[in-house]
């Protein structure tokens, strides 16, 4: 029975989380509040961990909550349920709607939707950065975080100047972890 509820809840999240993982987080939070025996504190922790661990945020959260409420099978069900609407919709889009992509109406729509999407993505990055910069509750700026950011910017810039390309994503993420560790050992 719990599997059914889990499936249903995460299916809904998958259906309504437009714009990606961060929307899904809000929906999952609502959906999981009071469900099973997850207190509010643990809820926030799980959300934070989902953002820090590898894998898409929404999938991580589905796995976490699925596990907590229904064990490994719960994890599978929640993950499957959250992925299903997206999977079906994308396939339907490619099969039936993609051919209209070249019509001038659709092209016109794309020219406004694309910058809108990029703006949304940029805003997510900015907010995430600021959240990381001000770790203290009082809103003061975290010096270590700034240090890490500067090192990252330097690394990317130096690489770009020497190779004319951006530092690829995966190495950059690993460096980030490394710098975090290094800066963490200071003081």
């Amino acid at each position: 029975m719990i599997y059914l509820i889990l499936f249903y809840k995460f299916l809904l999240v998958g259906l309504f989380s437009f714009g990606g993982g961060y929307t899904a987080i809000a929906l999952i939070k609502e959906s999981m509040q009071g469900f099973a025996d997850i207190g509010d504190g643990l809820l926030s922790d799980l959300i934070a961990i989902s953002e820090m661990t590898p894998g898409p945020v929404a999938i991580n959260m589905a796995t976490f909550f699925g596990t907590k409420t229904g064990g490994p099978i719960g994890a599978l069900i929640a993950t499957f349920a959250i992925s299903l609407p997206a999977f079906i919709i994308i396939i339907l889009y490619i099969k039936y709607l993609k051919k209209y992509e070249n019509s001038s109406l659709i092209k016109s729509i794309y020219t406004t939707v694309r910058p809108a999407c990029f703006a949304i993505i940029l805003s997510v990055g900015i907010v995430l950065l600021i959240e990381n910069m001000s770790l203290n509750e009082m809103g003061t700026i975290d010096g270590k975080a700034i240090m890490i950011l500067i090192i990252i910017i330097l690394a990317d810039t130096i690489y770009a100047v020497r190779t004319k390309k951006n530092l690829p994503t995966i190495p950059l993420i690993l460096f980030g972890g490394l710098f975090g560790f290094m800066v963490g050992t200071i003081k």
Binding site: G19, G20, G21, A24, I49, M52, T53, P54, G55, P56, V57, A58, T63, K68, P72, A75, T79, I82, S83, A86, F87, I89, I90, I91, Y93, I94, N102, S104, K107, S108, I109, Y110, T111, T112, V113, R114, P115, A116, C117, F118, A119, I120, I121, L122, S123, G125, L128, L129, L135, A145, I148, L149, I170, L172, I173, G176, G177, G180, F181, V183
Partner: protein, 213 residues
């Protein structure tokens, strides 16, 4: 080929820290820059589709590219590939998260990763926008939409207003439709204000001259 698809998306799933937006950057590395399965422009459309449709961006992208490369089976393989690392790792972690979080080294590393991810997301968005500006027929509209949505998105975040992203996308769709019709009507007028969406323009049969502006 399927194995390659699976392993690429497994790798993507493994290194996507901080969500689908960071993943965009990795997908670009793997499928646009390295292998050219997807062209730059199609990639940007893909992102728009992924953003406008529900569900985690990671799933949308994996399904889309998987389907493009190898049909239905490709879509399934890619999606499973991107989801699997998360399932395995998170399941293991969930067994003892509290203990893991208490280790300072772990939190230090994660903070570094989080900052790197934020930087990557910003970098990706800016480079996509740069590309958009080069292919845009009407740079003014492109810039205005970008800035407007950016400001609204930032404001709603900082003021903790919960606006579902879909509203912004919906508004931009409406704007796109409006511009399309404005274009059609202006072309009848001699096309001074045309944004140059020059594909398949229909001949104007009625040739009406009186259009009040």
């Amino acid at each position: 080929m399927l194995l390659k698809l699976f392993s690429k998306f497994f790798k993507i799933g493994l290194f996507t820290f901080g969500g689908g937006y960071a993943m965009i950057s990795i997908v670009k590395d793997e499928f646009v820059s390295k292998e050219k399965y997807v062209s730059d422009e199609e990639f940007m459309n893909l992102i728009a589709v992924a953003e406008a449709t529900p569900g985690p961006i990671a799933i949308n992208m994996a399904t889309y590219i998987g389907y493009k490369v190898k049909g239905m089976i490709g879509a399934i393989v890619a999606t499973i590939g991107v989801v699997l690392p998360s399932l395995i790792i998170i399941y293991i972690i969930s067994l003892f998260i509290i203990e893991v979080l208490k280790i300072k080294v772990v939190t230090d590393i994660f903070i570094g990763i989080s900052i790197a991810v934020a930087y990557i997301i910003i970098r990706t968005a800016l480079s996509l926008m740069r590309k958009e500006m080069t292919i845009s027929d009407n740079k003014i509209i492109t810039s205005i939409v970008f800035l407007a949505v950016l400001i609204i998105a930032l404001l709603t975040d900082f003021l903790s207003i919960n606006i579902n992203v879909i509203f912004l996308i919906f508004a931009s769709i409406i704007l796109g439709i409006i511009i399309y019709f404005v274009n059609k009507c202006c072309r009848k007028n001699g096309g001074e204000n045309s944004t140059g969406n020059g594909s398949g323009s229909k001949e104007n049969i009625n040739g009406s001259k009186e259009v009040t502006r």
